[in-house]
């Protein structure tokens, strides 16, 4: 069990290397390996066209890094929210992050076009704002019951979705197409700028959730029991919520809405390892989430000449897989 788990942590490495060989521009795999080797070790420099290095380091590498970070962000926030809300059907978008981010992005695309970075900024801000509205709506008399949070999340999601529809309705066809494309979720326009904007935020959230993985077990026993065991439930839950929202909205702001990763990956880990222990589930979800989104993005950029938005692929792969888990294992992971 320990060995199998450690092995799963290493899976992203070969997938990252393989992903560097995938793409529209044909790069010979052995040349990719030589370029990598020369970058890492002081080897005699072979000759290859300069464009190879550009494709590799300016186009493919940032995109791969973002896919890895995004997979980690979505699956870890999904896993932590599932624990926090003691609910299997919860994912990173529960508290309105995706609807808020969608609204923010649409606002920038439809009414304030041409300002660099504004789409990302508004998507991130409104994603976070949606979380804060949900959280404050659910908070009464200094307590934030989980059921109120879930309801508030549903309400806030509905409101931002309606506001998004208003924008869609009043904008012209060309901008509407851009809004719709953004909502589908894609990593196609990733450069080093996007990586620099989001990866540090995701790293912060990752560290917090990773360090609190044991607390998450205790919190998943329910508010009253966690309190009895000595947890400051309100404080700790808020920290985990902030960290999860930070990861999810940072990634959504540059990639759009990519669904099902946060739902499918933690379940897969619980089934593979047979344990709900977040000390195992959290790190392995990060690892498998990175692999899942990276492979989905590899497919997105290589299946057809016109790129498929990766959000569509994660849903097409994720939803049936979830159904399979449900049929085959029933609710065993939960009871």
């Amino acid at each position: 069990m320990k060995g199998k788990a450690a092995l799963l942590l290493l899976v992203p490495l070969p997938v990252i290397v393989a992903s560097l060989m995938v793409g529209a521009y044909p790069l010979p795999p052995d040349t990719v390996l030589s370029i990598l080797a020369c970058k890492m070790f002081p080897l005699p420099h072979n000759s290859w066209p300069a464009v190879y290095e550009q494709v590799l380091f300016d186009i493919r590498l940032p995109r791969i890094i973002l896919a890895v970070a995004g997979g980690i962000a979505l699956s870890m926030s999904g896993a932590s929210l599932q624990g926090l809300f003691r609910n299997p059907l919860v994912d990173s978008y529960l508290l309105g992050v995706s609807a808020g981010a969608g609204f923010g992005a649409a606002l920038a695309i439809a009414f304030l076009p041409g300002i660099p970075g504004l789409v990302q900024l508004l998507a991130f801000s409104f994603g976070f704002l949606a979380f804060f509205i949900s959280f404050s709506a659910a908070r009464t008399k200094g307590e934030t019951p989980t059921i109120s949070l879930i309801l508030a999340g549903v309400i806030v999601t509905a409101l931002f979705t309606a506001a998004l529809s208003v924008i869609k309705f009043y904008t012209d066809q060309y901008r509407l197409a851009n809004v719709v494309y953004w909502l589908m979720g894609s990593l196609a326009s990733t450069g080093w700028g996007e990586v620099m904007q989001t990866v540090p935020l995701i790293l912060v959230g990752f560290l917090v959730v990773f360090l609190m993985r044991w607390r998450l077990n205790v919190l998943s026993m329910g508010d009253e029991e966690a309190k009895s065991l000595g947890v400051n439930v309100e404080r700790d839950r808020f920290i985990i919520l902030i960290a999860s929202t930070l990861m999810a909205s940072a990634f959504v702001s540059v990639a759009g809405i990519i669904g099902w990763v946060g739902l499918v990956v933690p379940h897969m880990i619980r089934m593979l390892t047979g344990t709900p222990d977040n000390r195992v589930v959290i790190p392995l979800s990060a690892s498998l989430g990175a692999v899942f989104l990276l492979l989905a993005d590899d497919l997105a950029r290589s299946l057809t000449t016109a790129e498929i938005p990766v959000g569509i692929l994660t849903t097409i792969c994720g939803a049936p897989f979830f159904m399979y888990l449900l049929k085959r294992k029933g609710g065993f992971v939960w009871r």
Binding site: W214, V218, S228, N232, T275, R279, F332
Partner: protein, 265 residues
Amino acid sequence: MAVIQVSGLSFSYGLDFCLKDVSLEVERGEVVALLGPNGSGKTTLLKCINALLPVKAGKIRIDGIDVSTAGRADLARLVGYVPQSHDPPFPYTVFDVVVMGRTSHLGIFQQPSGSDYALAENALGVVGLSAFRDRPYTQISGGERQLALIARALVQEPKVLLLDEPTAHLDFRNQLAVLKMVRRISAEKGIGVVMSLHDPNHALLFADTIALMSGGRIVSFGSAGEVVTEENIESVYGVEVESISHNRVRLIVPAGGELRESDTG
């Protein structure tokens, strides 16, 4: 000094008072049973002592510390709480559930380590669950679960143990096993115990002191002989009972005409 001191405690849900002017003292190594019909305030009192509900008036001190101002972690090192109904969402192993008792001794970013695991192993041994260590907590019987929760409370290293109807949903054998365990732990570790019970006979058999509750008040408090009398039980529960003695053990049995006669010669 008493390890639990409750004085003049009042609590209400909305407009209805659920606890009215409750006072109670529990010594180290003493087992106190809360008796009383449903809705008499037993669970509410236990939750108030554990600061899970905010009191309206009165003071609760545990080991001299005011629970209304104590931090959750500080409180958890004083009070082990064994809840009544319990719906675990994830199938953690019995061992993992017991280790959770160490939470209050760990920092927010800390994971349990060797000494925490050793304490958990030891506590599982004390309650006789070592063989169930790696079983999913969701797949053991109600009695075993209750014992696991007691083990979890023990690794908190508390001075006080609160149990909310520890015998509910248990079969006859497990009821006795759990209550015996509670008595033994209280005596061996000098822990003050407060538990709510439904069966007056359990209180007679296993408690040092009994608090009889009705309508949010403690109507009678003292030794078993003083509290569990025919008159008290009849007035609080509204049923006729008789007190009988067998081998120097006193028991309460229902009285009245509608009972089936036993076939003992």
